[in-house]
Amino acid sequence: MPFRNILLFMTGFLLTIQDFTTMVGMSFRYLFVHFRLRESLLEMDRLGVGSIPIVFLANLFAGLDMALQFSVVMAPYGASNLLGRVVATSIVRDMGPVLASLVMSARVTAGITSELGMMATTQQIEALLVMGVDPVDRLIAPKILAGMVMLPVLSVVGDLLGILAGLMVAELGAHVPAPLYWSGVRSALTLPNLLNGVLKPFVFGFILVAVGCFYGLRTTGGAQGVGRATTKAVVYAAIWILVANFLISKFLIDVWGWKL
């Protein structure tokens, strides 16, 4: 009996992976063979522009907090002059992209899953199919593109805001002069760090939208089903973002070495 259960679980898992990769593959195919500019721009506005306040707020307070914590730890060692470098490195390499993605997954992944879930349970997805329109083409591909374009943009601007917030704490709290802080920031903006700061949100943008779309399209069971699918999508998106964050970090460190 346990063997049968393990077999059923593995079969279900493999089928889920197959469905997910098929959806993603079809989306990329449509982006190349049947690109929808209008829908893509609309999604960029909805997913990206609509998320500006929460992403910026999250980065602002993360920058403030990080500068505060590092200044407390570094001051006894006389290393406050490195504050700008440490804050900028942390934000650009890791905190900025991860924080922006997690905050966006709460808003965007949940929004996408509930929207598509409602469409699935009220036969709107079926109506699209019947009208000769592939839902992956009309609904999914523009959303995935929007996520991959907008998250890096938001993340980079959010990083800048976090670094500026760090400057406030450095000047007012840790008494680190602004030119010293900025010179530390400049030394942290190396090619490996910048690549980290752009590549990660690009991948995270894909994850949070693709996971939301996948669970949205598979929703069954009315309003309760929509709630279940949304919770599942947000949790899985967050987990996959953290897993991908580690893997990308590892990959880039292997490529670039331990350079900062």
């Binding site: 009220t122 036969q123 079926e126 009208m131 329109v133 592939d134």
Partner: protein, 242 residues
């Protein structure tokens, strides 16, 4: 013409359709009657190609739907109009945009021509003044009318499928929806399948009638043939409705 040949559909171990044969001649309306959960809507899904039979085949104008690839299926569905139970209108779009959707997706008509066609279709179903309203602002009957207008947006819908088009509507609205369905059939000479459990509405729109019970077709024929059927289930069904 639509023909189902020995079609069997199963969800896991549960058989929903058990080797059924059905033929709907071109230009006729076949009404499928039966209890809830008897497999009526499954027949529509097979015709749409959204559900594949375990065995048997579905033919539309002698084309085997099961043998179409994804592209072929999408092209086939472009000649088909489907009215869902609750309308299934896109709630993010206005009434006009819902009706225009097919034209935007499958034609290169300029905006003024699309609007002209949308207004013609909405006039046909008596809802031109609601062109800018959202589906959530409409009553159940109005939503079904918009769904019918949307299903007719294809220039020449060869097949029209209706899934319980009058369920949940008051008798006056039900009659007006049935009248509209008749007008659509006359206008487009389409081959229609109507799934319902309401006998009054069935008689209003149907040319032929099929009863489904326990996943099987138990009778098919004209109104007279059905009314003279000796099958106890059909007689009970007819007597309960009257």
């Amino acid at each position: 013409m639509i023909r189902l040949e020995k079609v069997t559909v199963a969800y896991g171990d549960q058989i929903v359709l058990d080797g059924i044969d059905l033929e709907i001649p071109t230009g006729k309306t076949m009404v499928i009657l039966g209890e809830s959960g008897s497999g009526k809507t499954t027949i529509l899904k097979c015709v749409l190609g959204t559900l594949h039979p375990v065995s048997g085949r579905v033919l539309a104008n002698n084309q085997d739907i099961g043998k179409l690839d994804d592209e072929g299926l999408l092209r086939f569905r472009q000649r088909m109009g489907m009215v869902f139970q609750e309308g299934a209108l896109f709630d993010s779009l206005t009434v006009g945009e819902n009706v225009a959707f097919w034209l935007w997706e499958h034609t290169t008509l300029p905006d003024d021509k699309v609007e002209e066609r949308v207004r013609t279709l909405l006039r046909f179903v008596g809802l031109e003044p609601s062109i800018d309203q959202k589906p959530s602002d409409l009553s159940g009957g109005m939503r079904r009318r918009v769904a019918i207008a949307r299903a007719m947006a294809a220039e020449d819908p060869a097949f029209m499928l209706y899934d319980e088009p009058t369920t949940g509507l008051d008798p006056f609205t039900s009659k007006s929806i049935c009248d509209l369905m008749r007008r659509v059939q006359r206008e487009f000479r389409s081959t229609n399948i109507v799934v319902t459990h309401d006998l009054t509405d069935a008689y209003r729109v149907g040319d032929l009638f099929t009863f489904i019970k326990d996943a099987k077709v138990i009778a098919t024929g004209t109104r007279q043939e059905i009314e003279h059927s000796a099958d106890p289930f059909i007689q009970t069904f007819l007597s309960l409705d009257s």
